[in-house]
């Protein structure tokens, strides 16, 4: 090693150049660095996105002239009065109930898949499971929904299949269930539910799988070591620890169901969901204030939901 070590300066000279100088500044003032990093996303999301959101919410305090369909820019709570009419409350309860059902069932259906992929799949199988979940996720949403319309139609594939294997009476029995049944699956709540479940399922599987993978194996072993058989371990250790992932997934399934307007339109009984109501009021009817008031509903619901999810630490599992 070169013995000239001690001859070199302890402090090196600054290399000339604007960048180097800027770099010095960023080091001396970490807050400047932070500001540089935060400014673009905060401007974009905070100003454009949140700004639009607030502008929209503000519009819910206007009302529409009933005949011409033009917005009158005067502050009023009239639109909220309208929102609280029984017709609209029906829509809200219908949607929230559906979203809750979809979320619960998605969690139930997703669990074995996520669990298997997280705990048992190795190497190639792991990739198979990953692709198996990702592929439907990224296949065209619309085409998937349309495929379901064909499956569920009265003269569709499911009927065809059921009649081939002689299970028609079963199908009819299901359709005869009041409220959720109907003339055919494609015009019943069951149908709408199935399509929602199908389309959002991957959004539940992925965070759930991630959460399950994060549970250290040693905890499961510790549980077995303590005498718990696999199902007891599942109940007392695995599920509680994977819960944040389930909550993270449920943010998606719940929110996406709350806002969708295409699925209930294509497969459903013409009874409106919030998304359709918003779509109809802003697009078809041009009643932006009412549409805005309707959007307040999911915003408030998701607000509480996110607050709860945050407290459970679900954000880290997203």
């Amino acid at each position: 090693m070169n013995p000239s070590v001690t001859a070199s300066p302890a402090v090196l000279q600054r290399k000339p150049g604007l960048l180097a100088r800027f770099s010095d500044l960023l080091w001396r003032r970490p807050t400047v660095l932070l500001a540089v990093l935060l400014a673009p996303p905060v401007l974009w999301l905070g100003v454009i996105y949140l700004g639009s959101l607030f502008a929209l919410l503000a519009q819910s305090f206007f009302a529409i002239d009933e005949f011409t369909g033009l917005v009158q820019y005067e502050w009023t709570l009239k639109t909220y009065g309208e929102l609280l009419r029984p017709v609209n409350l029906d829509i809200i309860t219908r949607t929230v109930t559906m979203a809750a059902c979809v979320t619960v069932f998605a969690a139930i259906v997703a669990f074995p898949i996520a669990y298997f992929a997280a705990r048992y799949a190795r190497g190639r199988w792991k990739a198979v499971f990953y692709l198996g979940v990702m592929l439907p996720l990224w296949s065209s949403y619309l085409v998937k929904v349309y495929a379901w319309k064909l499956i569920l139609a009265k003269e569709g594939i499911l009927t065809w299949g059921f009649s081939k294997i002689g299970l028609m009476p079963l199908l009819e029995l299901i359709l005869a269930i009041p409220v959720i049944g109907g003339n055919s699956l494609s015009v019943s709540y069951i149908g709408t539910f199935l399509v929602f479940l199908y389309v959002w399922l991957p959004f539940m599987i992925l965070p759930m799988q991630a959460a399950l993978e994060r549970v250290p194996v040693s905890l499961l072993e510790a549980s077995a070591d303590q005498g718990a058989n696999p199902s007891e371990t599942l109940r007392h250790v695995l599920l509680p620890l994977a819960l944040p992932g389930v909550v993270a997934g449920s943010i998606f399934t719940f929110s996406l169901t709350l806002g969708d307007y295409i699925i209930p339109q294509i497969v459903g009984s013409s009874r409106l969901f919030i998304g359709q109501a918003v779509y109809a009021h802003q697009g078809t009817a041009g009643n932006i204030p009412l549409a805005a008031a309707f959007t307040v509903v999911p915003v408030v619901i998701m607000g509480f939901y996110l607050w709860g999810a945050k407290r459970m630490g679900a954000f880290d599992a997203l």
């Binding site: 309208e82 319309k149 064909l150 041009g286």
Partner: protein, 363 residues
Amino acid sequence: AEMMTELGAGEGEVVIVAWPGYIERGETDKSFDWVTSFEEKTGCKVSVKSANTSDEMVALMNEGGFDLVTASGDASLRLIAGKRVQPVNVDLVPSWSDVDDRLKDAPWHTVDGTHYGIPYMWGPNVLMYNTEAFSEAPTSWKVVFEEMTLSDGKSNQGRVQAYDGPIHIADAANYLMTHKPELGIKSPYELNQEQYDAALDLLRQQRKLVSRYWHDAFIQIDDFKNEGVVASGSWPFQVNLLKGDGVPVASVIPEEGATGWADTTMLHAEAEHPNCAYMWMEHTLSSNLQSDLSVWFGANPSVPAACTDGRGMQTAEGCTANGLDDFDKIKFWTTPVSKCESQEQCVPYYRWVSDYIGVIGGR
């Protein structure tokens, strides 16, 4: 905007909000094309946004960015009142003189003598039915309003449809005009509270029969094919397409008469391409459009000559079949207002909107 007084050169483009099937350039069926020739002649490229309901048309026009709209009577007055459309100078449309006299001054586009558009097409909301379920043509709208056993031995429950637009309340009122004369309904668009409630009751009864309402012509076609629907109020358009696909359907105007639509090409108040727009309006009257569209859509031309002068495919018989002579049986869509002509106080349209959502939602 002020009414135009003279035409300039085309702007190279015109943007139209139209009902589906109204503006065809041969893509669906090569023989139905009334756009290409216009584009070649004038250099105005036509772009079309389809709207499925009148409400959607109004909303689109309120939003702007369009030159023309093929508004039905239940939308046109709202557009005029909202100042979304401008008066049309009929002198700049040379073929105006060919327009059916019954339509020239129709109240849905003429306000205080000022014209706000050029009539486009008109037609009835027919009763479409499946000829296998109905051994003979139904004579009354009853088949879609009341539960009954059809001639194939099965109930009509779940096998009929209705239009997913508040204007369907008028169909119910129309039915009541015949079947509950004691209500004293004069026009299905002018209903007092009592008449209105009766119409809603009828619709609630209908809700039990209907699995899914239709709001899109093509979805209705799918439903007749795949969902076992056998009867519904419909447009001749769907009837023609289904027949073309070999589905056993036919249509009829029942004894109660029918509601119907009369559409008007209207010019947006802030149209960016007014010259091309005027050229298009002239084109709608003078070209093969009226004749071929009347065949394609199963509607009636606003230029009666189009039925006979061979400018397109339509023939006199065809026009008769489409109901050219039934003009008087048809109650054309207009926007319900509270200050109505036939009575003191009527239920206005905005209530139709939310109440109809309620009826469909089961309330």
